[in-house]
């Protein structure tokens, strides 16, 4: 039996797992499903906490970085990023 990783990335409305999901991405290392940009209009979970409750393991989250002086109002990438994984066993 081999192990494969599935990765779920959630972007949340504020930096706490109880916050609403505003953007999401899924990468399926088992090869069972090919996810791609624009493939769903509704998030897989309403909040980050709901992903934990469904068995996803959090392994990385974005840091809180103070705005650079003089650039306080510059907006850019989505800020509150959380990486989750599930490991699946099978004959791949």
């Amino acid at each position: 039996m081999a192990k494969r990783q599935k990765v779920l990335v959630l972007y949340l409305k504020f930096p706490s797992l109880e916050a609403e999901v505003i953007s999401w991405a899924t990468f399926d290392g088992t090869g069972k499903k090919l996810h791609m940009t624009g493939d769903s209009d509704e998030p897989p979970y309403p909040t980050g906490l709901d992903a934990l409750l469904d068995g996803w393991r959090l392994f990385q989250s974005s840091q809180a970085i103070p705005e650079y002086p003089g650039q306080e109002f510059r907006t850019s990438y989505l800020k509150h990023e959380f990486f989750f994984e599930k490991l699946e066993e099978g004959d791949f």
Binding site: F14, I22, S23, W24, T37, D39, F73, T75
Partner: protein
């Protein structure tokens, strides 16, 4: 006579970064454009590359050196000249980038159906989200005019876009990791529809699961003059007075300020406020009212007494 944009349309552009004109171009001009590029049914198309090369070698779409004035770019009475001279398109261009814009570049985007990917043994994927060109922190902005000569159905995977993202400064495909963004939209339209995007709007091509080839012609235009009240040459626009915040009465009338202060479902709770501040700053540039404000966002933090 060009039909200049209204103040409401300009506020919509300032807030969402895009405008759409459904079924604007007439059937005859759409046909002329499609004939000119040699549009044919999919059965007659052998390969993606051959079809594209054929369009490039036979169509009347000129090679335009970057920086050429738009007025000198397209042959008289050619389909693209007619489209860009349409009174609504011409008016929108004049309202946003003035009377003498330059052509940055043009492109004909073709999105092929599944069978071509199967034939070439390639994975059929949608295009990832991106912001065109490169990091662009200017206050000046360019526009991209998108023309759809045929109907675009949902199955055809029309251009995906994210309203309200145009003022976020990112580095091109640096946003590709956001597979899906709440509030994302895809262009589903009738033939002859024209869309106009702020150059900063996040977008990407959808995947085409239909049996037809999807076309989109794009031209990017750069202004040569200050983009201030171009839609309002008589300078009639006046900012609205301050309104009460939070402890206020219900008002049903939708004002310019409501359009400017619209929130979008993808915005974070904290950065949403900065997005609003940046829309007010953008509106100050567009109107020339350098102290105007909406809902006190800038007045509050500009009240520096030390």
């Amino acid at each position: 006579m060009p039909k200049l944009l209204t103040t409401e349309q300009m506020a919509e552009f300032a807030s969402s970064g895009c405008l759409f004109f459904e079924e604007l171009i007439d059937e005859q001009t759409n046909k002329e454009f499609l004939d000119d590029i040699g549009h044919t049914s999919v059965e007659n198309v052998e390969s993606v590359q051959t079809y594209f090369d054929n369009i490039k070698s036979t169509s009347s779409i000129p090679r335009i050196p970057a920086g050429t004035p738009l007025k000198d770019s397209y042959p008289k009475n050619s389909p693209l000249e007619k489209i860009l001279k349409n009174e609504v398109v011409d008016g929108a261009i004049k309202s946003l980038v003035g009377s003498n814009p330059l052509v940055d570049h043009q492109a004909l985007h073709l999105t092929f159906p599944t069978k071509y990917f199967k034939g070439a043994n390639q994975r059929q994927m949608s295009q990832q989200n991106h912001q065109d060109s490169t990091i662009d922190p200017r206050s000046t902005f360019d526009i991209q005019v998108f023309y759809f000569p045929t109907e675009v159905t949902k199955e055809m995977g029309g251009t995906r876009y994210h309203p309200g993202t145009h003022l976020r400064v990112v580095n091109e495909f640096g946003i590709a990791k956001y597979q899906n963004i709440k509030g994302q939209k895809s262009i589903v339209c009738k033939p002859g529809t024209v869309g106009i995007f702020h150059n900063g709007l996040w977008h990407g091509a959808g995947v085409n699961f239909s049996e037809e080839i999807r076309y989109m012609f794009k031209v990017r235009l750069q202004p040569t003059e200050k983009q201030e009240l171009l839609w309002d040459p008589e300078k009639k626009y006046q900012p609205l007075p301050n309104r009460a915040l939070y402890w206020s009465d219900e008002v049903k009338e939708v004002t310019i300020n409501d359009i400017l202060m619209r929130s979008y479902p993808w915005q974070e709770a904290d950065t949403n406020r900065l997005d609003k501040i940046n829309v007010v700053k953008f509106w100050r540039l567009l109107t020339g009212h350098k102290k105007m404000d909406v809902d006190y966002w800038l007045t509050r933090i500009e009240n520096e007494l030390y």
